[in-house]
Amino acid sequence: MKLSIAQNELQKGLARIQSIVEKRNTMPILANALIEATKGKGKNSGALSLAATDLEVGIRGTHPATVETAGAVTASAKKLFEIVRELPEEPVEISVTSNSYLEIRCARAQFSLAGSSAAEYPTLPTFSADNTATVPSLLLGEMIEKTMYAACTDETRYNLNGVYLEILEDSAKLRMVATDGHRLSYVDRALGTDLSGLSNGVIIPRKGLAELKRLVDEDDADEVAIGFDGNSGVACKGDVTLFMRLIEGEFPKYQQVIPNEIKSQLVIEVAGLTQALRRVALLSAERSRAVKFELTEGRLCLSSNNPDLGEAREELDVDYAGEELSIAFNARYMLDALNAVRAKEVHLGFQDSMSPARIVPTDDDDSLAVVMPMRV
């Protein structure tokens, strides 16, 4: 294998795979990047493919390069990135010796990095383009942002360890839902594309979703093709393909915990509520972070009590004329939900003091957060 590639292109490709490579060292080969050079049809044309996987999530990016001899090798993804990051912005020449060492030359710098045979690297899955749908990157990124915070981090509850994705057949919208049992968030979006090719009701794991978010946040393409087949998911954006193993499990019947009979509702400015909540939470009990919400006519009173430190209380003027209500929440869950809705104002709705609260942005009926209450 012998090629030449622009330093910034190589650095970009290696940076992208850093979060994928396996850090726990359970299989040493997974700490490596798979480097494959293929020759193009024209003279001095070709491509360098950089891939990494931890067997749950995998990514492959293809970059333009001048390939003299095609070939493949694997080498430490971290060390290669550290080397390339320090190189000047000049063409980088890479060749592989017969004992799988990578010879890297750039300007007057020269490195010889130990590699290993590409045959030892796990095969990345292939995916048919028939089962994909093209969706706007921006919308997909927003949906992930609004839901991922609520996904469960406890690995023993695998069916909650990701975001559930379903197609709402009556409105042709895509819905993403996540819950850890203490809070829930969903968002519906009409993506303006044909979603019929997508499998319905899949759970995308948190790590795969974080990589997907990173991919859609890159600013070089407006659309991303997503697809699911069996227990695999794929996202393609330009020359980058992300693979992920989907979670096999049954997502809970989440609709039943979304309060429908809202008896007390108010419209409140998110910034004001968030700031007050942060202040009051400073003296909440360290163990539970419970903050009490007391609603009376025209007023929302937030209070906390820590037996070791003291008490905090703050009143907010609100447009509320319903029944008096007292309910407590974990301040962190409420702040996460308010932060994720990314709205100026929200409808804050309550059924009673023992039922979950519903948070709906005033300008977006298609997204919603639910926070379960705590014992006062």
């Binding site: 406890d154 023993t156 509850r157 069916n159 909650l160 819950t179 049992g181 203490h182 809970p252 019947k253 039943q256 915990v257 009990a285 360290e286 163990r287 539970s288 972070r289 419970a290 974990n330 023992m354 039922s355 979950p356 379960m372 209450p373 705590m374 014992r375």
Partner: protein, 325 residues
């Protein structure tokens, strides 16, 4: 209470605010947890009313958060905390939090806390906090012999496996009181026969490895009772399980000193059945022979320390034959 008593209590509709599931038998612990899970949680809403915390990594705040949440679309929540003393330093912060949290559960009916552990420090404050509102479910392994055999028969019945004459006894003997392993071995044995057929002792003998731990007194008893062949089999198993030769020699020397004391009119401390067994064994030897046996043990000890040409295993085999014949 025993797991069966827990199941009966849950079936009667009684659910306590806290349970302590303690014992070294993982199968019994898992079954008790599953019974509690089924009794406490409503199907359909269980993902929203269940928290499982691992003592090794969970912080006290997460425990209080889990215990403080109200049930959603159900009457109760279930919080399972496993191995609260597993964190570094005995999980002091977590166990202190438990000691504080458990009494507070007594008044409420919405949250059920279950703490599961293989071993606990019974002197600790958190353990004592469980006394009042909670029930302790003991999940100790059955004793080798009759209790293990009873489990084998019960489990075979549950799995619908017919065991032929001597098959249950051999399974219990070869696997010992490891219930999960026994369950798997019964499943495996059922595959060796046609549907509805009986699993024979020969099939168990061919398909089940001998993995049960052999206590050292099985060796001393086989020698003392003159069962040379059994003694050699037990010796091989004990050595195979990792016992070190000096440890075996010490056990043999102690045993033969006891026999000599009893044979010369003295007594040996112990429960009546042990004393009776020792008297029976001492009756097989003349005092002079017992002194000879002690001398042989001493010589083997010297040989094992480098004076002899035989390997440790061979030297021990020769000694066992000499002592038991």
């Amino acid at each position: 209470m025993k797991p069966a008593e827990l199941e009966a209590e849950l079936a009667s509709g009684r659910i306590r605010p806290a349970y302590l599931v303690v014992g070294e038998e993982p199968l019994l612990r898992d079954e008790a947890l599953e019974a509690l899970r089924q009794a406490v949680l409503d199907p359909g809403s269980e993902d929203f009313n269940f928290d499982r915390l691992e003592g090794e990594s969970v912080r006290p705040a997460a425990l209080f958060d889990a215990l403080g949440m109200l049930p959603v679309m159900a009457d109760r929540r279930l919080v399972i905390l496993r191995e609260p003393e597993a964190a570094r330093g005995g999980g002091k912060a977590l166990t202190e939090a438990l000691a504080e949290a458990v009494p507070a559960l007594a008044g409420g009916a919405e949250t059920v806390l279950v703490v599961a552990a293989a071993k606990v420090d019974r002197r600790s404050r958190w353990f004592k906090a469980f006394r009042d509102p909670a029930a302790e479910v003991r999940c100790d392994p059955p004793k080798p012999g009759r209790e293990t055999l009873a489990f084998v028969r019960e489990e075979a019945k549950r799995q619908g496996v017919l065991l032929g004459k001597g098959a249950a006894e051999l399974l219990a003997e070869r696997v010992g009181p490891a219930l999960l392993l026994l369950r798997r071995e019964i499943e495996k044995a059922s595959l060796l026969t046609e549907p509805g057929g009986k699993v024979t002792r020969e099939q168990v003998a061919a398909g089940t490895c001998d993995v049960a731990d052999e206590p050292i007194w099985d060796l001393t008893d086989a020698i003392g009772e003159g069962r040379s062949a059994d003694a050699l089999v037990v010796l091989a198993k004990v050595l195979g399980a990792g016992a070190v030769p000096p440890q075996l020699l010490a056990a043999l020397a102690t045993h033969f000193r006891k026999l000599l004391r009893m044979r010369t009119g003295g007594s040996a401390p112990g429960p009546p059945f042990v004393v009776k067994k020792l008297e029976r064994q001492a009756g097989r030897y003349a005092p002079r022979r017992l002194r000879f046996c002690l001398n042989a043990i001493h010589e083997t000890d010297i040989a094992l320390k480098g004076a002899g040409a035989l390997s440790a295993d061979t030297a021990l085999e020769r000694l066992v034959i000499g002592l038991s014949s």
